[in-house]
């Protein structure tokens, strides 16, 4: 079977849109991390500096999965790996 280029490009765009749905997970995770950090600062305001750096570190690690989705989307949109 052969498809023409426009069909493949359109399907790549749909796939890119589906791939960035991966952003939901990191959003939820970072929100949970920030909420717990806020609770921790409320309990122990003296440790706010350490809590902030730990929160940023954890959020950045949680962000990785979302970034993989973003990479797939960017590859599909701009590199066109599916075109023959």
């Amino acid at each position: 079977m052969d498809f023409n280029e426009n069909f493949i490009l359109g399907c790549s765009a749909i796939g890119a849109g589906l791939a960035v749905i991966a952003g939901i997970g990191p959003g939820v995770g970072q929100g949970i991390a920030a909420g717990h950090a806020a609770a921790a600062v409320g309990r122990n305001p003296g440790a706010s500096g350490e809590i902030r750096s730990m929160m940023l570190l954890g959020q950045a690690v949680a962000e990785t999965t979302g970034l993989y989705g973003l990479l797939v989307a960017i590859l599909l949109l701009f590199v066109h790996p599916l075109l023959p």
Binding site: E5, N6, L9, S53, L56, L57, A60, V61, E63, T64, L67, Y68, L70, L71, I74, F78, H80, L83
Partner: protein, 243 residues
């Protein structure tokens, strides 16, 4: 090739500047090389100036000497706070990659394409870190301990869990490099889409977005890269009794 009509002005890809033949292989010098050269020249110039300022250091420091001392103190303090007694051996490496990655990330403000938005830059950085982690492990721990760690949840005479531990070891440089690369690339792509699609509407106000994508995100990712490097290394060092 049929691009969409909207994407004709958008351009954030790496371009080749010129090509030469290296033992028969065509090798491209790209915009990444040029930008990394500019970054390196600026950093080397800063380092030479800092060296002269410190060499002729006064008892009451001037402005530039003050800034240099502040940078060194902050970087050393960061390494100290997360590595403990092993910190002095790693001041140089962590400080160097911190300054390099930070300046690479915020070089988007100078109109360069950030060198860290190229996987060929972030992968070597992560591989240097990875070899450093492994080296620290072999230096500070006995082979027997390493073997027990490798078969970790199960007893050491039953190494069926070892392949999984090996995979999670190999995933370290990949995730480190991809995290930095994808963050910087996403900022670059977003700014390029903004400027490419909006045209003259995108005047002056994207500066706020530059502050977020280049300064904030770049600084956070630099910090995360260095923090993860230090965390991995101090995990491998353990209690630090040298064998």
């Amino acid at each position: 090739m049929g691009h969409g009509i909207l994407l004709t002005d958008v351009d954030f890809m790496i371009h080749g500047v010129f090509q030469y033949s290296f033992f028969g292989h065509p090798v491209w010098i790209t915009t990444t090389h040029v930008c990394i050269l500019i970054v390196m020249l600026i950093l080397v110039g800063f380092a030479v100036a800092a060296n002269r300022a410190i060499r002729k250091g006064a008892e009451v420091p001037g402005a530039f000497q003050n800034v240099v001392e502040l940078i060194v103190e902050k970087l050393d303090g960061m390494v100290d706070s997360s590595m403990g007694h092993a910190a002095p051996r790693y001041y140089n490496y962590i400080g160097t990659i911190f300054i390099f990655i930070l300046f690479s990330n915020i070089s988007g403000l100078l109109g360069l394409r950030p060198p860290t938005a190229d996987y060929g830059v972030t992968l070597p950085l992560a591989l240097i870190t990875f070899s450093m982690i492994r080296f620290s492990k072999w230096k500070y721990q006995k082979p027997g301990t390493i073997w027990v760690d490798l078969c970790s949840p199960l007893p050491s005479w039953l190494p069926i869990w070892m392949p999984i531990n090996l995979i999670s070891t190999i995933a370290v440089p990949i995730s480190l490099s991809l995290r930095l690369f994808a963050n910087v690339l996403s900022g670059t792509a977003m700014m390029a889409l903004l400027y490419g699609l909006l045209g003259w509407i995108a005047t002056a106000w994207p500066a706020a977005l530059h502050v977020y994508f280049d300064l904030f995100s770049g600084a956070i990712q630099t910090y995360v890269f260095c923090m993860l490097t230090m965390t991995y290394i101090s995990n491998e060092i353990g209690d630090g009794t040298r064998r």
